[in-house]
């Protein structure tokens, strides 16, 4: 059995409010699994249950061979967790934080020292080890938190919005580090609301209001869950063009992007028809067919939900 996470009909309520509703999925060894969803969708609640921090209301989950409800301590020994909140001690140095959390995992003496050295090297933190954690820039802090979660060589890594509030370059670096680790056999479960981050995942689950709506590889999601056709219209006169595009049958979504508008039609009227209308409103407009992104998947699924 190579599934490191098996979730079956997992639910969690707070009072009468259902934060997670009947969620089931499996994650295999060496996979990066992404959990995508808006704020309040139930991502953190799911991850907390999987880490043995929160008791499920019903359903079951087995992580690295341990049942989260019956053996949360067994789960904790085998996983690394990076919580959503910044969770290091700011008044301690990087080394002291690692030393403490290593000890919390039962590591001590020479084994702990050498492990700390390894993760410091792995995450490019060697020259930061004597710095106070509070003095580090956001990206480096995130890497220290990751180092913490990796100290005891966990089978599964849970990362709850690990790159929230970090600049895109640091975000890419961070994901690269996680991928490297996963290439060595660790399994990673991460939540995010950054679409570009989700693109790096082997599979992505889309969470809407406590429900896991769709779950597949990013390319399959884009192929199967964005009905119709997508176009990008470059224009300086968004207002006029929007009115013209609105007049075409089948408009599903229209959004402003940097250089103009991104529209989806279902069914597709064809590029020529869209171009014709756009040019009528703005002779300088340029219309191109566009590839579906995870963002489009997300919008399409949420739209479908709203209907």
């Amino acid at each position: 059995m190579s599934d490191l996470i098996t979730v079956s009909r997992l639910c969690r309520s707070f009072g009468s409010f259902q934060a997670v509703k009947d969620v089931s999925f499996k994650v295999g060894r060496g996979e990066i699994f992404g959990y995508l969803g808006a704020n309040g969708a139930g991502k953190s609640t799911t991850i907390r249950m999987l880490c043995g921090l929160l008791q499920p209301t019903s359903g079951s989950a087995v992580v690295a061979g341990a049942d989260v409800a019956r053996d949360p301590e067994g789960v904790k020994r085998r996983i690394g967790y990076m919580s959503q909140k910044f969770s290091l001690y700011p008044d301690l140095t990087v080394f002291e934080n690692l030393d403490f959390f290593g000890g919390a995992y039962g590591l001590s003496g020479r084994a702990l020292r050498s492990r700390i050295d390894e993760v410091l090297d792995e995450l490019g933190l060697r020259d930061r080890s004597r710095s106070l954690t509070s003095s580090l820039p956001g990206g480096a802090r995130q890497r220290v938190a990751l180092a913490n979660a990796l100290l005891h060589n966990p089978d599964v890594l849970f990362l709850d919005e690990p790159t929230a509030g970090v600049d895109p370059a640091s975000r890419r670096d961070f994901i690269a580090l996680v991928r490297r680790r996963v290439a060595q056999g660790t399994t990673a479960f991460l939540t995010t609301h950054y679409m570009d981050e989700a693109e790096y995942c082997d599979r992505v689950g889309l969470m809407v209001a406590g429900c896991l709506k769709v779950l597949d590889t990013p390319s399959a999601l884009k192929a199967n869950h964005v009905p119709g056709a997508l176009f990008e219209v470059r224009t300086a006169r968004r207002g006029d063009v929007t009115a013209a595009l609105n007049a075409i049958q089948g408009l599903a979504t229209i959004q402003r992007i940097g250089a103009g508008l991104r529209v989806r039609y279902d069914p597709s009227p064809g590029r020529d028809r869209v171009a014709e209308s756009a040019l009528a409103a703005d002779p300088d407009a340029v219309v191109e067919a566009a590839e579906a992104s995870l963002d489009d998947v997300f919008r399409a699924v949420v739209d479908q939900e709203a209907q």
Binding site: R77, S83, L88, A104, H152, T186
Partner: protein, 391 residues
Amino acid sequence: MTSSTSRPLTPRKVPRFRRFAVRTGAMARKETWHVVRDPSNLFLALGMPVVLIIVFGYGVSFDLDHVPVAIIDQDGTRTSRQVARDLTASGEFDAIADAGEPEDADRLFRRQEAAAAVILPRGMEKSLARGEQVTLQVLVDGSDGGRASSVIGSSAAIVRSASIRAAASGLPRAMVVPIRGRVRTLFNPELRSAVFLVPGLIAYVLAIAAVLLTALTVAREWERGNMEQLFATPVGRLEIVLGKLSPYLAIGLLQALLVLAVGTVVFDVPVRGHMALLAAGTLLFLAGTLSQGLFISVLARNQQVATQAGAISSLLPAVLLSGFLFPIENMPLALQVIASVFPSRYYVELLRGVMLKDAPLAVLWPQLAAMAAFAAVMIVLSTARFGRRIA
């Protein structure tokens, strides 16, 4: 090295107690770093008790000067008037104008018009002339124990010197003056001297400092979001509790040493008994009060609430229910029961026993046992509440 066979680095064969020790040690080390990183707290923790004990210590042992005294002359003779003059000659006592009758002393004390009353009994001159002993009754307001004992001491000395003068002036020499203080029990029937109060002060100062020291440690981690991360590790609640307590126990012992040193050096409080007994008692007392602070912190999860609850829950028992100022035997039963729960009273009893009377372990073991029980219960409660919160 970290292939798909990567195992958690904690080998299963490591004995349980060793893992327990490693995790508790890590917790203690981390807590020590917090203290070291913010030395202002450490200085406060060590400085506050010393300042408190000096302020309070002097407060209870100030020197006498112009203490208002009601001299109730029931004899009204030349001799009695002479004794009355002698009583006020040194300036320590001032006779108040309207002394009234012995029954008025109560009222005078309550209105703070007099701190003591001396009754010169009817027939005093005649008795002295016959060569008989005369007893002067001195009533002292015991609400301020330190002042009351000083008043008693001074009045004894003054009356003795008056008696010698009377002898020299031809009166019979047999004027022995046993002074008896009849004091309203509500305040302080045993007329405790500064020497007697300092051990109480030590307990009081340590109780407050100890509870406040730990009241924040858990609440802070909840507020900063560290607790969730901590709970995601295999660290047990008992390991957290014990790990958090141990560095503060060390600080507490340092506090105790400082305060005891100030008590003995500045206030001349003797230490007649065994240091080992004193150390054991202090350790158990600190374990109890530190755990009390920790328990509050576990319950509150919020630094502000924890500070307030910590201050109240340490101050009230230490001041009111410790026997430091108010004797426990005279309290209503309900208060006596509450007083018997908190370790302050046992520590005060132990300190007085060891410091003033050289009481042996055979006498003080119940106090030690009670403090140990309180500490154990607090640790168990903290641990249990921790467990329930994670849910």
